[in-house]
Assembly symmetry: C2
């Protein structure tokens, strides 16, 4: 059996930064070439970042991306790396519009491509067949599907190339991989992290490898892009389902592994398969061991995902520091610890903003947190700012409670952000967000919400995990025990606790899991054994909080293309050509 040395580069692209992302590929190619690789693969859309959303309907963006691929081929050649076949993901176009509807409707003009570069040229190109259009994916909206399979002949081995979703669907290009009798299947991916996703993804890769009796080389991008976190976790599995190599999660990595693949035969290929023979690479030196990473446990994975999501949002949007309110409670404590892990404690500004209702315990919990972590820490009492407004407007009850939250989040943190350039973190968790237990333009103000998708019970679990993790490394546990153990309170009126208003978090999180995450209906949730009145209370809160969750005001659309519904753009976007 011929032996191929595969290199999979887990890069962290910045969306829109074609020059910077190309440089990452050149860097990976340099290392892969030095290691004697016969083939380098980088992730789906590694050249543009992912997801590009409706930028795919902008012809100038596609032209830039197209030209960037040509330029990358030349740059590799100029760097003396022209011998190495490089498979790289990128958007391509503009193509003739695929008519989607009315004559004046936007139409797909892009394809989601994998290009093969060698000798200064683009030798072949594959366009993704299966376009996911569920959950976070909108690809049917923006891409034209491909319909040819690409097979590369490299050193006597046939290497088939597909993109991400193509691997998940039965039928389609996979059938042709079988017909083509390829020895290696390269899948380039932009597959976001989800809790427990490794329990789905790796078994799928393994199943595909054994079904087709082919070595599957799965390469994923890494990094945060707005609310998605790509976890890497690239892997190579052989036709018997054994893991030959596996990259670590949440960091850039070059995975190198030798595989013994079935030799190519000269059988006829179906019409829908293009075969491209590449020039041979030089003989390779011996390898020095193979990485077979083992993913850490659930809490560590989630923590790492949150840290990377936060770090990349800050970094890719060119901030260098963050500011957040420290209430003494568990949510802000966990967010501060995440921020310190992400960008270093000296770049994290914590502000305690006590009111007349803040307990002595809360103030000291915030002090202890700041001390534990080594944050930049200040105290801004709010009573003298709140009173004149309360008096002038005659605010009482909930309106007065909201006023306190708005002075803290909307006024103080945003004011300091505008003065000093910090990114404001808002510290609400998924449970609060689901039921609308927060003040709009108050504690919900900010550019990034580190624990937006973390239910309250998991916040506590993560706090305990992070403290225990510190202990194993002889470091100070960051989160004050008192913040973990005291009953949660918004402290907007005397002796308030969350459970004055909300069901116990054990019940609330379980109902939200059923109603929100699993999309069950009212009757189905009740059938799980929850109290009817509580289910109605919670589901009504969820249904009525949609505006709060969005915050941005909607308004009537009168033009062909309006911000909001029909213009979906990345927030983190750094155009370079």
């Amino acid at each position: 059996m011929p032996r191929l040395r595969l290199a999979l580069a887990q890069t962290n692209p910045v969306l829109g930064d074609l020059r910077g992302n190309s440089a990452q590929v050149v860097e990976a190619a340099r290392a892969a070439s030095a290691a004697g690789a016969d083939l380098l693969a980088v992730g789906e859309m590694a050249l543009s970042g992912y997801p590009i959303e409706d930028l795919a309907s902008r012809p100038s963006f596609l032209r830039d991306a197209h030209n960037a691929v040509l330029r990358l081929a030349k740059e590799l050649q100029d760097a003396g790396l022209g011998h190495l076949p490089v498979i790289v993901g990128h958007p391509d176009g503009p193509f003739e519009p695929r008519l989607l509807g009315t004559s004046n409707a936007p139409t797909a003009i892009a394809q989601n491509c994998a290009s093969v570069l060698q000798g200064g040229h683009v030798k072949a190109r594959y366009a993704k067949h299966h376009l996911p259009n569920y959950s976070v994916f909108d690809e049917y909206r923006i891409f034209i599907p491909g319909d040819e399979l690409l097979v590369l002949r490299i050193k006597g081995v046939d290497v088939a190339v597909i993109v991400c979703e193509d691997l998940w669907r039965d039928g389609g290009p996979l059938g042709r991989v079988l017909e083509a009798d390829a020895g290696v299947l390269v899948v380039i991916n932009a597959s976001p992290f989800e809790r427990d996703k490794d329990e789905v993804r790796l078994p799928l890769v393994t199943r595909r490898a054994t079904e087709t009796d082919t070595i599957v080389a799965y390469v994923n991008i890494v990094g945060g892009q707005d609310d998605l976190v790509f976890d890497g976790d690239s892997v190579v599995v052989d036709g018997e389902g054994s893991i030959l190599a596996r990259a670590p999660q949440f960091e850039e990595h070059l995975l190198i592994v030798d595989v013994d693949a079935a030799a190519a035969t000269d059988s006829d290929l179906p019409d829908s398969v293009a075969r491209v023979t590449l020039a041979d690479t030089p003989a390779a030196p011996d390898t020095t061991g193979v990485d077979v990473a083992v993913p850490p446990d659930d809490h560590e994975q989630v923590w790492n995902a949150l840290v990377l999501g936060l770090r990349d949002y800050v970094r890719k949007n060119r901030f260098s520091s963050v500011i957040l309110g420290l209430s003494g409670g568990i949510d802000s404590a966990v967010c501060a610890a995440l921020a310190a892990d992400a960008i270093g404690a000296s770049n994290v500004y914590g502000v305690s903003m006590p009111s007349r209702y803040s307990s002595e315990g809360s103030r000291s919990d915030a002090d202890v947190l700041a001390e534990n972590i080594g944050l930049q820490y200040s105290v801004e009492p709010i009573a003298d700012l709140v009173t004149p407004i309360e008096d002038q407007l005659g605010l009482t009850g909930v309106a007065a409670e909201n006023l306190q939250a708005r002075i803290r989040g909307g006024i103080i943190l945003m004011g300091l952000s505008n003065m000093h350039g910090h990114l404001v973190l808002t510290t609400g968790n998924k449970t609060e967000l689901s039921v609308g237990y927060s003040t709009i333009y108050g504690d919900s103000a900010g550019g990034f919400a580190p624990i937006k998708d973390v239910p309250k019970l998991l916040v506590w679990e993560l706090a305990r995990w992070r403290n225990a993790f510190a202990a194993t490394r002889d470091e100070t546990p960051p989160i004050p025990v008192n913040s973990i153990e005291k009953p949660p309170s918004a402290e907007l009126r005397p002796d308030q606790t969350d459970q004055d208003t909300l069901p116990p978090y054990e019940v609330l999180d379980a109902i939200l899991d059923a109603y929100v995450t699993r999309a069950l209906g009212r009757e189905d949730v009740i059938a799980l054994g929850f109290d009817e009145e509580t289910v109605d209370f919670v589901t009504k809160l969820v249904d009525h909080s949609e505006w709060k969750r969005r915050q941005g005001a909607i308004g009537p659309k009168i033009s062909g293309m309006a911000f909001g519904r029909d213009r979906r753009l990345p927030i983190t976007y750094r155009p370079t050509v």
Copy 2:
């Protein structure tokens, strides 16, 4: 030729309100029956409202909608209207999931249906073939396409039934309409208003009628749903392209018209066409004239769309009053006039919030506006509220300017909203929104933005149009001439005008039209003749304002279903079963 009396009901559904929307259909059937109609058609998703977004993935919602159709058939029968065939649009399901991707991915379980009710039963059902997935539409994400054509035989005429997008696509069910040789084609729609859309929609209907030599009866829903406004404009066109009847825009209406249709033949139908023969309706009395509405001019259409969008957002979300800041400028003046037209001046609360930088002119322009319109008017000076904060935090420059805007929008208007239950309107226009010329949590705070999609130049045009319209009716023109004619200013520092920071609006709006609405790239915009430096300045502002436009903080997603990217829900939603 047999004569049929068609009734098209332009109803205004409330999303999720299955009982209330059913009652609208019964009401329309009562009127149609009294007028001797042989067939009543109401709009696409008239039973549920449109768009239902990811509610389509909730089995309980689909079960409720399915049962609501059965109940509606019974209610019509019980009301003595069982003889009248009623075609009504609704979501149906849950069906076996159509596999869309990974084993744990959400899958489409719904269809977008037209059901035919008669004699207390559902006699037939058609499922939409073509699922739009561009612009504001996400139907490929949530619906399973149908593949059969439905032909109803009514009083010797074959009536084909299709849904919305099916009419726009070449091929598909339209080809089968030709083969089936139907005399009438009923199209039920949920087609949102766009400026100049009547220049596309009516010609399409006319073309389809002449191509198929069939009478086309096009019925559309009406009303505001979040940022969409459905304009009605239902129409009946004969096989020669003549308009037989046309309903007015932006209001509920029952359109009744007699048509002489080709008699049905007993030719064989293709396998993919289902033919259902309905019981005859009683002989009809004579009609008393037919409505052939003529749409008003462009500015009046836009104004009416904005009024209806605002009114329905307020009403359907169960608010009864709105509050907005009156700066003396053109944007807030136009918003106040729109609000008064939408819900009556006595329900509109205008607040003037002068600072030390507010000119005497601005204050008196706000006074005059309030007087002209008859608003609920109050004055809340902000200097004494701003100073303590500015001093404590040491805010200067832009941070101090933003503070003023936040005290006005985030603190005063939101505080009064929380105290008195008014919906806060934010008065920014599309130009400001595009370039981020506003203060987040300040003037951009609020639940609804009446002119969010109106560029600045059009704001002025609409103001002039509304004043002229008042003059033609001997009413006081609402908008102070001075607000229209003075140079626009944010008045956040001495002698500030918008043009200190922004290009002239004539240039700015033209560049935004090219870059935003037409999605041209930088080079393409420059090629239109704009100055390179100005284009770069504007496009950078647009690219960097995406977060401001969204306002709601994003955060890393870690679960299978998170708020934000992969959970798309209506804001206006009133569930009843």
